[in-house]
Symmetry: C2
Subunit: 84 residues, 2 copies
């Protein structure tokens, strides 16, 4: 069975985010005043597996080994049966 | 009143995504076989406004002027009253 996986990767609280700071400053220059700007990276893919829990465990392993840096990143994983 | 805005920016269908291709190849090297890998950038911020519809219009303007490149990007905007 195929599942859709969605991994959201954000910087841990307290980490400086120069990308978000730049966006906020650029918006301010255009007279849009916003606060608490943050950026999140999302990675989506389709994965084959027999069971939703097992797939989630596998994706968690991928995050630890490749997709995220656990020292600076928080991540959340969403697994759902693939939409046809 | 304050609103939470969430802008999701993805490449239009058919655009090559070297970042996603690299992730998928790197996962394959670690023996994780996934398909249809895609990346989405998310920008979140808090914005002050009088009315949800007006705020959405303003954020749409931000997307057109700064956050997205309408030639290559699709984007979706979600506005919700700020959680305390």
């Amino acid at each position: 069975m195929k599942y859709d996986a969605e991994v959201k990767i954000s910087l841990k609280n307290g980490m400086l985010n120069p990308e978000a700071a730049t966006i906020q400053r650029a918006l301010a220059l255009l007279d849009y005043n916003v606060e608490n700007t943050a950026t999140v990276d999302m990675i989506k893919f389709t994965i084959e597996g027999s069971d939703q829990e097992l797939v989630k465990k596998e994706v968690d392993e991928m995050c630890q080994r490749l997709l995220c840096n656990p020292v600076i990143h928080d991540y959340t994983i969403k697994i759902s049966p693939k939409e046809e």
